[in-house]
C-alpha cells in the first residue's frame, strides 16, 4: 500500500487513472479524504448524477446516439465529462477495450449502446457474470459470429478470441487448437433473425442448433454448452494471472512485482470480482510513484472539457476521435486499442484538432485587444484558462520563449502591440493543451 503523502498531485493522478481527470476543485476535495477515503469513494460512488448542461451537436440539437452517425461517440464522451462515477465510467471504457466490439461489424448503434450499458452495469462487479453476459450480447454475437456457429457448421471465431483475448492469453500454453475447435462446439446454438428494415433481431438460444455431444476442453470431457465454455475459461488455472495483469495494465504502465501479483490473484480468486482487484491497484505505490501514462485520446479530451467546466457542444468529436486514434464504438480490432502506442505524428495532429475544437468557440478576439502585455502575463492568463495545470519547468520555459519571440515581432507598431498579446494567448492555450505535460498523467 502507498504510504506517502496523499495531496493534490496524488489525488489528481488518481483521478486521471481512475477517471477522466479533475473538475475544478475536485482534486483538492479528494485529497482531503486521504488515500483510503479517496479510493473508497471511487469504488463505491453511489448513484450516478450527470453534472452540467446536456450535450448537443454543432447546431444545438439534442444528440441521437442510437441513430445519428457519430452521436454515439459524443454521447459517451458527454457521460465521461458529466458523470459522478468516474471509475465506473472508466471501467466501462476498459471493458469496451477488453471485449472490443466494433460497430463496423455490428452495424447497429442501438446494439452497441445496449452492450455499453452492459459494460456499465458490470463495471465493478463480477467478471464471470460479465463474460457470460457478453457471450450472449447481440452485438458480440454478431461481431464474432456467435450466431453463425451451429452444430452443423461450427464457426471458431468467438471460441478463439474468448480464450486468446478475453480470458487466457496467447502463447502461454493455456489452450490448444483442439480446445478452440471444441469450445466452438460448446458455444453452438445462438441464433437470430434478420428482416429488411429491421436488421438483426430475435437473438435466442436454439437447442436444436446446439451440438450436444461430448467435448473435450482443457483435458476435461463433458457435454459442455455455452455457459460451461465461459466457466471453463474463468476456472482455468491460468485465467487469474491473465486477468489481473491485464487489468493492472490499464492503470499502471509497469508490470506488478511478484508479491503484488500474488495478492492481486488471491483477491480475484475469492469471487472473480473486479472491485477487490481494483482496490489493490488504486492503493499501490506504483500508481503514485511510478512513471506517467499517455492519456487515451478520449480521456485527454474529456479531461480538458472537465478542466474548464465545459460540456459536449459539438458532434465533431467522433471524427476527431478517429483522427486521434480512438473513435468510441469502433476499436481497431477485437484486441482493442493499443495503449502502448497512442501517440505518433498522425494521432498527435488528431489531438491538436481536438484542442482546436474546444478553443474555436472560446477564442479571444484580437481586435478587442487594448493593451500591450509581457510574455509572463500572457502565459499566466493562458494557463488560467485551463485552470492552472502543473507544467514541468522545461515546458513552461519553452512556452515563455515562444511568447517572448512572438511578442517581440510586434515591434513599435501600436496595433500589433495591442493585438499580438491576444494572438499569443490564443496560441498558448493551444500549445499548453497539446504539451507532453497534458497528454500524459
Amino acid at each position: 500500500v502507498y504510504r506517502g503523502g496523499f495531496d493534490v498531485p496524488q489525488a489528481e493522478r488518481l483521478l486521471w487513472r481512475a477517471g477522466f481527470g479533475p473538475r475544478p476543485g475536485e482534486a483538492e476535495a479528494l485529497a482531503k479524504r486521504g488515500l483510503d477515503g479517496a479510493v473508497t469513494s471511487l469504488l463505491h460512488p453511489g448513484r450516478e448524477r450527470l453534472v452540467g448542461p446536456r450535450p448537443h451537436d454543432d447546431k444545438g440539437r439534442a444528440l441521437a446516439p442510437a441513430d445519428a452517425w457519430g452521436h454515439d461517440h459524443c454521447w459517451w464522451l458527454d457521460r465521461m465529462v458529466r458523470t459522478s462515477r468516474p471509475l465506473a465510467e472508466r471501467m466501462t471504457l476498459v471493458w469496451h477495450d477488453w471485449f472490443a466490439t466494433s460497430n463496423a461489424g455490428v452495424g447497429s448503434q442501438k446494439k452497441m449502446l445496449v452492450q455499453n450499458a452492459l459494460f456499465r452495469s458490470h463495471a465493478l462487479g463480477s467478471f464471470e457474470q460479465l463474460l457470460i453476459d457478453v457471450t450472449r450480447d447481440p452485438a458480440m454475437l454478431l461481431w464474432l459470429n456467435g450466431v453463425e456457429n451451429s452444430k452443423r457448421a461450427p464457426n471458431e471465431n468467438y471460441a478463439r478470441e474468448m480464450m486468446e483475448l478475453f480470458t487466457l492469453g496467447a502463447n502461454r500454453g493455456a489452450y490448444t487448437e483442439r480446445d478452440v475447435r471444441e469450445q466452438a462446439r460448446a458455444l453452438t446454438g445462438w441464433r437470430n433473425r434478420w428482416k429488411q428494415g429491421v436488421g438483426d433481431y430475435d437473438f435466442h438460444y436454439e437447442p436444436t442448433d446446439h451440438d450436444s455431444g461430448t467435448k473435450t476442453v482443457f483435458r476435461r470431457s463433458g457435454r459442455f454448452a455455452w455457459r460451461d465454455a465461459c466457466r471453463l475459461c474463468v476456472s482455468h488455472p491460468k485465467h487469474a494471472s491473465f486477468f489481473v495483469r491485464k487489468l493492472w495494465g490499464y492503470f499502471i504502465p509497469v508490470p506488478p512485482d511478484r508479491t503484488t501479483e500474488a495478492a492481486l490473484e488471491a483477491a480475484y480468486r475469492r469471487g472473480r470480482e473486479v472491485r477487490p482487484v481494483l482496490e489493490i491497484v488504486l492503493r499501490h505505490p506504483a500508481l503514485y510513484e511510478g512513471p506517467r501514462m499517455t492519456k487515451p485520446p478520449v480521456v485527454h479530451i474529456a479531461g480538458l472539457l472537465r478542466r474548464i467546466g465545459a460540456g459536449v457542444t459539438s458532434d465533431a468529436w467522433s471524427w476527431i476521435g478517429q483522427l486521434s486514434g480512438q473513435q468510441l464504438f469502433y476499436p481497431p480490432n477485437v484486441a482493442g486499442w493499443d495503449d502502448e502506442r497512442w501517440l505518433d505524428t498522425a494521432t498527435f495532429r488528431g489531438r491538436w484538432i481536438g484542442v482546436q475544437n474546444i478553443l474555436a468557440k472560446r477564442q479571444l478576439d484580437p481586435a478587442k485587444g487594448t493593451a500591450p502585455a509581457d510574455a509572463a502575463t500572457v502565459l499566466k492568463r493562458a494557463l488560467a484558462f485551463w485552470n492552472d495545470p502543473a507544467l514541468t519547468d522545461a515546458t513552461h520555459a519553452a512556452l515563455l520563449r515562444f511568447a517572448h519571440t512572438a511578442l517581440a515581432d510586434a515591434g513599435k507598431q501600436h496595433w500589433k502591440q495591442t493585438q499580438y498579446p491576444v494572438l499569443v494567448e490564443n496560441a498558448l492555450r493551444q500549445l499548453i493543451a497539446v504539451s507532453p505535460d497534458l497528454q500524459t498523467a
Binding site: N145, S241, K246, P332, N333, A335, Q356, P366, A427, T440
Partner: protein, 450 residues
C-alpha cells in the same frame, strides 16, 4: 445478411484512420507489439540527443536539410509494404480450378470466371485481380502462391506480429523494416519510414531512428483558432520545442519526441499542403483512402522526398468468417485497381524503377469452407511483389490440395516470408540481411529482383 467480423479488418472504409495499431502488449503471453516497451525508451533517449544536435545545425531549415539528405538518397530504392488485414484467402486470390478437390472443399465459395495464371495451369486469377494479372503479363508481378512459415500460428495477432518483426519471435519489439532503418537510416529524417495509415505500422517500428505516420501528405496542416500571421509561424515552430523538454519519464519522453517529429514532418510536407499539390498522372479508384494514399505516395516519390520504407493497409476486410464471396470481391477489386494505378502513376512520373511493393497478409484461410459461407483462420497465404524491376517469376509453388494441406486442413507454405525479406534486403535495398533478419543464413534467397 453477410458479415465478416472478428478482428482487425472489420472497419468501414470511412473509419480507416485508426488502422495500423499492433497488438496490445498488456495481455500476458501475447507478443509485445513491435515498437513498444524497453527499446522504445531506448529509442526516445537516444534520439533525443541526436535530434538536439540536429537542431543545432544552423540556418539550414529542416525541410531544406531533408531535401539535402534526400539528394544523396533520392535515387535510392523504396520498399512499400501493403498489408491485407485479417488473413486473405489464398484459395480465392489464385484459385486452383484445376485441382479436383477444390469444389469439394469449397462447394459454395469456389471462385470462377478468372483468367489463367500463365505460370501454373492449375491456378486462375480471381476476376477482381485482373489488374494484377495484366501487370503479371508485363513481368511486373512476382507471385508467392503459398507463403508462410513452419508451425503456423492461427492467431491474427501472433501471426501478424511474426510477419511484422520478420521472425517467429513473440518478444521482438522492432519491425523488420524498422531494424533496417535503424541500421541504414538517419537520425533526422522521420520520412525514411512512413506509415500511410494514420498511425504507426509495427513493421516500421524502430529502436533508434525516427519514423512518421500520416494520413496523407496533403493533410498535414496545423492551425489554431484566433492565431495568424507572424504569431502563427512562431506557434508552429514552437511545437517542436515542446518536444525538446526532455524527461526521464518514458511516456513523457514519447510525447516530447512525437512533438519533435511532428515539427520535422510538418516542414517536410509543407510543399504538399496546397490544393492540387498532388496531381496523379493516372486515374485512381475513387472514394477510398488506400488509392488516395498511394496517389500521395507517388507524388512524394516523384518530388524526391527522402523515403526508404513505406507501409500501408489495403482496402478491405479479409477476415471472412462469413459471407466471404460478397465481401472479398469488392475489397480485392479496389485493392488491385489501386495498385495498378500506382504502378502506372510511377511509370508516368518516370520513377517506377525506384519502387517495389510487397503485398502480404498474416495467413491464408482454412481450405474447407465453414457453414457461414466463410472460412476460418488458416496457414500459408498469397503474397505479391509488384514493380518494374521484380523478377516476374513465382517463388514457391502452389502445393495442391491433395498433399498440400497440414493436419489442421490448412495450406502448407512453399516459401518462407523471412527468405522473401532477406532477398528484398539484399537484392532491392542492397543491405546485409544478416543484420536485420534473425538467423537469415538459414533461409534461401529466391531471385526477386532483376
Amino acid at each position: 445478411m453477410s458479415r465478416i467480423v472478428c478482428d482487425e479488418c472489420s472497419r468501414a472504409d470511412v473509419l480507416r484512420a485508426v488502422a495500423g495499431r499492433g497488438l496490445p502488449s498488456i495481455e500476458p503471453g501475447m507478443p509485445t507489439p513491435a515498437g513498444t516497451g524497453l527499446s522504445r525508451r531506448a529509442f526516445v533517449a537516444k534520439s533525443l540527443g541526436l535530434a538536439l544536435s540536429v537542431y543545432g545545425v544552423g540556418k539550414l531549415g529542416l525541410f531544406e536539410e531533408g531535401i539535402a539528405s534526400a539528394a544523396s538518397g533520392a535515387q535510392g530504392p523504396i520498399l512499400v509494404s501493403v498489408f491485407l488485414q485479417g488473413g486473405a484467402d489464398a484459395l480465392s486470390m489464385l484459385y486452383p480450378e484445376g485441382d479436383p478437390l477444390y469444389r469439394k472443399l469449397r462447394p459454395r465459395l469456389a471462385v470462377s470466371g478468372g483468367s489463367a495464371f500463365a505460370e501454373d495451369d492449375r491456378l486462375r486469377w480471381h476476376p477482381a485481380l485482373s489488374p494484377l494479372a495484366e501487370l503479371h503479363g508485363e513481368g511486373k508481378v512476382t507471385v508467392l502462391p503459398s507463403v508462410g512459415y513452419d508451425h503456423p500460428d492461427q492467431s491474427h495477432f501472433t501471426s501478424r506480429h511474426f510477419w511484422e518483426v520478420g521472425a517467429t519471435d513473440p518478444r521482438l519489439l522492432t519491425g523488420w523494416m524498422g531494424r533496417y532503418l535503424d541500421a541504414a537510416g538517419t537520425p533526422d529524417n522521420p520520412l525514411q519510414g512512413l506509415s500511410l495509415t494514420g498511425s504507426l505500422q509495427p513493421t516500421l517500428a524502430t529502436a533508434k531512428v525516427p519514423v512518421a505516420a500520416i494520413d496523407g501528405p496533403d493533410e498535414y496542416d496545423f492551425w489554431a483558432p484566433g492565431v495568424w500571421g507572424e504569431v502563427e509561424t512562431h506557434m508552429l515552430e514552437a511545437i517542436g520545442s515542446l518536444g525538446s523538454a526532455g524527461s526521464r519519464d518514458p511516456a513523457f519522453r514519447t510525447a516530447s519526441n512525437v512533438a519533435r517529429q511532428v515539427d520535422t514532418l510538418r516542414r517536410q510536407l509543407a510543399p504538399f499542403g496546397g490544393k492540387n499539390a498532388i496531381a496523379p498522372a493516372v486515374q485512381y479508384p475513387k472514394g477510398d483512402s488506400f488509392p488516395r494514399r498511394l496517389a500521395g505516395l507517388a507524388a512524394m516519390v516523384s518530388a524526391g522526398l527522402p523515403l526508404r520504407c513505406v507501409a500501408l493497409e489495403a482496402t478491405g476486410e479479409y477476415d471472412t468468417h462469413a459471407g466471404q464471396a460478397s465481401a472479398l470481391a469488392p475489397a480485392l477489386t479496389t485493392t488491385a485497381q489501386s495498385l495498378f494505378a500506382f504502378q502506372r502513376d510511377l511509370e508516368a512520373r518516370g520513377v517506377a524503377d525506384r519502387v517495389l511493393t510487397l503485398v502480404w497478409t498474416e495467413f491464408g484461410r482454412r481450405a474447407r469452407e465453414n457453414g457461414s459461407g466463410g472460412t476460418d483462420h488458416g496457414a500459408a497465404g498469397t503474397g505479391f511483389l509488384i514493380g518494374s524491376r521484380v523478377s516476374g517469376h513465382a517463388v514457391g509453388e502452389f502445393p495442391g490440395l491433395a498433399n498440400g494441406l497440414d493436419d489442421d486442413g490448412n495450406l502448407k507454405a512453399t516459401a518462407d516470408f523471412r527468405s522473401v525479406y532477406a532477398s528484398l534486403l539484399e537484392q532491392w535495398l542492397g543491405f546485409d540481411a544478416e543484420r536485420v533478419i534473425p538467423g537469415a543464413a538459414r533461409f534461401a534467397r529466391p531471385r526477386l529482383v532483376r
